[in-house]
């Protein structure tokens, strides 16, 4: 009985290892994220008033990376909490409509930097530029 169970476990582990190897070989990541994931984290950090969380979502090569503080973000996101009402993506650019606490609409375009990670960490994204009404508010 024990021998049978050991055999089953061993076979299952082999299958798991094989699937993981195939996924990694195919370029799939185990922990990578999408642009939508990153923007979710960004708006969550804004809603939670978490300055480090916001900064973690930004591309460090943006000129305003250090100067854009919580006060700066609160000024644009002044009707918290926000949810994502609609999201569309073309390449590394996302058009997002945020909905404020009273249902107000805040449309923003996010240009994202794609960060190539390792096989295990996968691709991540950071915010390189944000435009509102065709004007750049952050870059």
């Amino acid at each position: 009985m024990n021998k049978k169970n050991t055999l089953k476990t061993s076979t299952a582990l082999r299958w798991i290892a094989l699937l993981l190897a195939a996924a990694l070989f195919a370029g799939c990541s185990l922990t990578g994220e999408t642009i939508r994931d990153r923007i979710d984290k960004f708006i969550t950090a804004i809603n939670n008033q978490d300055p480090q969380g916001i900064k973690d979502c930004l591309d460090p090569s943006a000129a305003s990376y250090n100067t854009a503080d919580l006060n700066f973000w609160n000024h644009y996101f002044n009707n918290r909490p926000y949810t994502i009402a609609s999201f569309s993506q073309s390449g590394n650019t996302a058009t997002v409509h945020f909905s404020g606490s009273n249902g107000s609409d805040l449309p923003m375009v996010f240009e994202m930097t794609e960060n190539q990670g390792t096989l295990l960490s996968g691709t991540t994204y950071s915010i390189r530029r944000i435009t509102l009404n065709s004007q750049t508010i952050f870059e």
Partner: protein
């Protein structure tokens, strides 16, 4: 607006080396064990082939040497005991990359054929380059020395400009205008000697060094106050518009009001915040890289013998720090440290 941006850059705690369009900056040579301070504030070993992002710093120890390449545009040699940072500024409505030396010595060779003319600077200075090879020394007292090997360099500080040709140099004190230019033909200037001389001058007259830093902080303070004033005005109008927008029930009218009234005011406010933060972070750099080390050196040197001038220095230092805390700290946050 453009003029004021130029003035900030001139007085800011930046050492712009290459105002090049955003380019990849790659580590191509390493000696010793240099470090990189990344944008999350952690310090790690610098690896060969690493790419430096804006906001990151290379820190070399006394036996370290690092060479960076920006494609075929520039080669940057970071010498021992140097802190070197990449920043980005807005000038003439365009974002440009700035390579900034906080302290130490950096030599640069720019390829004239690569396009845009770069600019260089020091703690209190900015300079435009029309040439190829230049070395910058940034002293422990916030002063700087520009040595041009070939080409032309235009050095500006505290509203005055000096044009340097090949084999010419100029020294710029922290917070002051450039001194008289001098020829370096037949003279060998190495950073360790110059820096040692500066350190000795600084320790010989630490009060004057404090005063120079205080003068620079006063310039930052003036910039900060100007933009905080603009911010307060814009904020009141923007917040009133935001409240008006929130009270609107017709979505179409609300969106129209958002685009035509609220957003232009919000943009003004946001830009004012970025501007006053720029002065704040520059003052913070000055405190960290000039005032802090100066205080430590004076304190260490006088640990056994604390006379009246030492006390005077400490009182003046405390005064400056108190002013810093009152003026700039309210505009800093935990992620700045």
């Amino acid at each position: 607006m453009k003029r004021s941006i130029l003035i900030w850059i001139t007085i800011l705690f930046i050492i712009p080396v290459g105002l090049l369009l955003a380019q990849n900056t790659t580590v191509t040579y390493i000696e010793g064990d240099p470090r990189i301070k990344n944008n999350r504030g952690t310090i790690e070993s610098l690896d060969y082939g690493a790419q430096l992002a804006t906001g990151e710093s290379v820190i070399t120890g006394k036996k370290d040497l690092v060479e960076l390449d920006q494609g075929n545009s520039a080669t940057i040699r970071i010498k021992p005991n140097t802190v070197f940072t990449i920043r980005e500024i807005e000038q003439g409505g365009q974002k440009e990359q700035v390579l900034s030396t906080i302290t130490g010595s950096v030599s640069m060779r720019f390829n004239r054929l690569a396009g845009k003319e770069p600019k260089i600077g020091t703690v209190s200075t900015i300079a435009g380059i029309r040439g190829t090879e230049v070395t910058i020394f940034a002293g422990p007292d916030g002063s700087s020395l520009f040595i041009v090997e070939s080409g032309l360099v235009s050095v500006s500080a505290a509203g005055q400009t000096v044009e340097l040709g090949a084999q010419e140099a100029v020294e710029v004190p922290a917070g002051g205008p450039p001194g008289e230019k001098f020829s370096v033909i037949g003279r060998e200037l190495d950073f360790s000697t110059w820096s040692q001389g500066k350190a000795e001058e600084l320790l010989a007259d630490p009060l004057s060094s404090l005063d120079r830093s205080a003068a620079l902080l006063a310039q930052f303070k003036a910039g900060l106050e100007e933009w905080v004033g603009k911010y307060e005005k814009a904020r009141v109008e923007s917040e009133a518009a935001a409240e008006q927008m929130k009270s609107m029930t017709d979505k179409e009218a609300q969106n129209k009001y958002r685009d035509e009234v609220w957003f232009p005011l919000a943009l003004q406010t946001g830009n004012a915040i970025l501007n006053y933060r720029y002065y704040t972070l520059s003052a913070l750099s000055l405190r960290r890289f000039v005032l802090g080390p100066l205080y430590m050196q004076v304190r260490t040197r006088n640990i056994l013998h604390q006379d009246g001038s030492y006390q005077e220095f400490m009182n003046r230092y405390q005064e400056i720090i108190k002013d810093f805390q009152t003026t700039f700290e309210p505009y800093t946050n935990s992620t700045d440290y």
